[in-house]
């Protein structure tokens, strides 16, 4: 599996421990009830920690799905 996907899945699983691996890759604000603004902030903080780059917290509302976050990481993170 793609390393970035696996690392991002790991981040998601810490915030949403009840989701399966398959549910995580399809996760979005609309499909995961626990995904509120605080979960978003925690998720972005974890992503920053995991991928070692600074996420702009002001943009947390833009990242509404696993897919959109993965795309941003691939475009921005230094070792992604």
């Amino acid at each position: 599996m793609d390393q970035d996907v696996a690392r991002l899945q790991k981040c998601f699983s810490k915030i949403f421990p009840d989701l399966s691996a398959e549910q995580i890759v399809n996760a979005s604000v609309g499909t995961v009830r626990a995904w509120d603004s605080l979960a978003s902030v925690t998720l972005l903080t974890l992503v920053s920690e995991e991928f070692n780059f600074t996420m702009d917290m002001d943009r947390f509302e833009e990242f509404t799905s696993f897919e959109s976050l993965l795309k941003h990481i691939r475009a921005t993170a230094p070792h992604a």
Binding site: K10, C11, K14, I15, P17, S37, L38, V41, T42, T45, L46, E49, E50, D56, M57, D58, F60
Partner: protein
């Protein structure tokens, strides 16, 4: 700790939420990662016990304190930041940073401090509090350059320092050390502006982790070490007394040996507050004693006991010292400049904590480590007594073991004072319960919150026993607690200091419980811990068999037949039944 690790721990805790220790975390901002780190550190500190962190409402610190007063738990962490005093001191409020506004901000801070002080005082009647003063920098609202302080900023800091100093005098409030925080979280790396503006959480991850860790340490401190064994040559002093001579060993600036003097001074302060200090040195006994008795030494020989001076392996000396102190190696620190000696002692006592005596440049680090191991929240009356009591006990044991000492106990003029009041302010009882391992009914430990909850229950009792004889006072050395139901006493916890062994004080405790409560039966919640052999052996005398873990029963009539003679005078030092304590004794 990384946030990912803290979340993993939190998720594990959430799988087992029953029986969790509940702790309030009160702050005016969104607790977010601080709460996660706090829960994770508490979980680690409480040996994998589940922890539930209760948080309040955003922007309402005063209201959150009131909610904690209404729904108290045993332990509460309170985190103050500048915005709790006035929103203009943060970035989420834009009330104006005009020079003309500064006096009003100062006025608000003063008013809020008075309000928080009063509320915390009330909360401290119900809960142990860990309190953190402002840790974030003040915003750049002053008119000077960054290099220059303003009187305004200095006055704000002085007000909060004064507030914290006042709070620190309250025995139920522990103040987070800014110096310790500075080590873990540099001031310039604490504020996360992006997270503050986006989510109302102002801390960087590193800062949140450091604050949470220290708060947990304040609420659930580790048991401090009890004794320190030190070497002499090139440790307590500079030089080898056997080769250089008594007058040539040094510990002063003039001889570039000041760090040995600082070490002596530190040990003297430890001894004064009841830490046991022993000497283990391969040395000529006469010469070493002469050096220890020099008038300019900074730790008097009277503070050192035992003093082992011989040419045997160090581990043999350490073994005798531990026996005299009657404590385990895990409660002791060993300091020696020689790697070989440390290695030999460590091999013989794997649980002992060994430190190298360092060169001058590193003495500060050693003292900080020792402070961490021996530090405790407060000094109790028994701490001042402990060292002299240990020396008295050594004399007692020598006389007691002498074959000519027939009926020795009846001649020691012992007096037992037993106090049945449930005074939650008396920290000695809880301290004794949480650090005693040998004469211990079941090894049960309590957090301060659990202890207060137990004492406040209607049927609970607490018996605290003090002892003195012609050799000196041992202070408070035994505690029994549990509940009473009619004429049946249920003992949940019973401990006695090892200093009090061989005096039949445990028999006096049972006699006092039967008498005070007019009880016909005592039930003891016994559990073998692997280390509480002395308790097992004591109770075996009443059962005529080795007790198994479970409830042990003792009828008053059996006790009267099987107990030995009780040699000491007994008196109750305060009146009142433990079952129906007077209201001022309760929380």
């Amino acid at each position: 700790m990384k946030l990912a690790d803290a979340l993993d721990l939190s998720n594990r805790l959430n799988e087992h939420p029953t029986g969790a220790t509940r702790v309030w975390l009160i702050c005016g901002f969104t607790p977010l990662h601080l709460s996660t780190f706090f829960k994770a550190h508490a979980h680690l500190r409480l040996a994998e016990q589940s922890v539930e962190v209760i948080t309040g409402r955003f922007g309402d610190l005063a209201g959150n304190i009131e909610r904690a007063i209404e729904q108290p738990v045993g332990e509460t962490a309170v985190v103050l930041e500048w915005t709790d005093f006035d929103p203009r001191l943060g970035l989420r409020g834009v009330g104006g940073w005009s020079v003309r506004a500064l006096p009003d901000i100062e006025f608000e801070v003063k008013k809020r401090l008075a309000q928080f002080g009063s509320a915390l005082d009330r909360l401290s009647q119900k809960s142990l509090i860990a309190l953190s003063g402002p840790t974030l920098p003040l915003p750049p609202l002053a008119y000077t350059s960054a290099a220059q302080e303003t009187a305004f900023e200095l006055r704000l800091r002085a007000m909060t320092e004064s507030f914290l100093a006042e709070a620190a005098q309250n025995r139920s409030i522990r103040i987070l050390s800014q110096a310790a925080l500075d080590v873990e979280s540099p001031v310039g790396q604490r504020l996360d502006v992006g997270l503050e503006l986006a989510a109302g959480f102002p801390y960087t991850l590193r800062h949140a982790d450091a604050v949470a860790d220290l708060l947990v340490q304040l609420l659930f401190p580790p048991q401090p070490k009890k004794g320190l064994i030190t070497d002499l040559d090139d440790t307590l002093w500079h030089g080898l007394v056997g080769e250089d001579g008594v007058e040539s060993v040094t510990w002063d600036l003039q001889h570039h040996a000041q760090h040995h003097g600082v070490y002596q001074q530190f040990l003297a302060a430890l001894a004064e507050r009841g830490i046991l200090i022993g000497i283990a040195s391969k040395n000529d006994p006469a010469l070493a004693m002469q050096a220890l008795e020099r008038l300019d030494i900074l730790i008097p020989p009277s503070a050192l006991c035992p003093i082992e001076l011989n040419w045997e392996p160090k581990s043999a000396s350490v073994e005798r010292i531990l026996r005299a102190w009657n404590i385990g190696a895990r409660d002791v620190v060993f300091v020696d400049d020689s790697p070989m000696e440390r290695s030999e002692v460590q091999a013989a006592f794997p649980e002992i904590t060994c430190f190298a005596f360092p060169g001058a440049a590193s003495i500060w680090g050693l003292l900080l480590q020792l402070r961490g191991l021996f530090g405790k929240p407060e000094i109790l009356a028994e701490d001042w007594l402990r060292a002299s009591s240990i020396r008295a006990n050594v004399r007692f044991q020598q006389e007691y073991s002498h074959p000519s000492s027939r009926d020795f106990l009846s001649n020691v003029c012992g007096t037992i004072s037993i106090d049945f009041s449930k005074n939650p302010k008396d920290r000695r009882a809880l301290e004794l319960v949480n650090k005693t391992t040998q004469f211990n009914l079941n090894g049960r430990r309590y957090t301060e919150g659990e202890w207060l909850t137990h004492l406040s229950s209607k049927n609970s009792f607490l018996a605290t026993l003090s002892y003195e004889d012609k050799f000196g006072s041992l202070g408070k050395i035994a505690v029994a607690t549990g509940s009473c139901d009619g004429d049946v006493i249920r003992v949940r916890t019973w401990v006695m200091s090892c200093r009090a062994f061989s005096r039949r004080i445990e028999h006096h405790m049972l006699e006092s419980l039967f008498t005070h409560f007019d009880a016909s039966k005592i039930e003891c919640e016994y559990k073998s811990t692997g280390r509480n052999g002395p308790f097992r052996e004591f109770f075996e005398g009443f059962l005529d068999s080795v007790p198994a873990s479970g409830i042990l029963y003792l009828m008053k009539s059996d006790f009267a037949i099987k107990r030995p003679s009780l040699p000491h005078k007994t008196k109750e030092v305060t009146g009142g039944s433990g079952c129906r304590p007077s209201s001022e004794m309760l929380l």
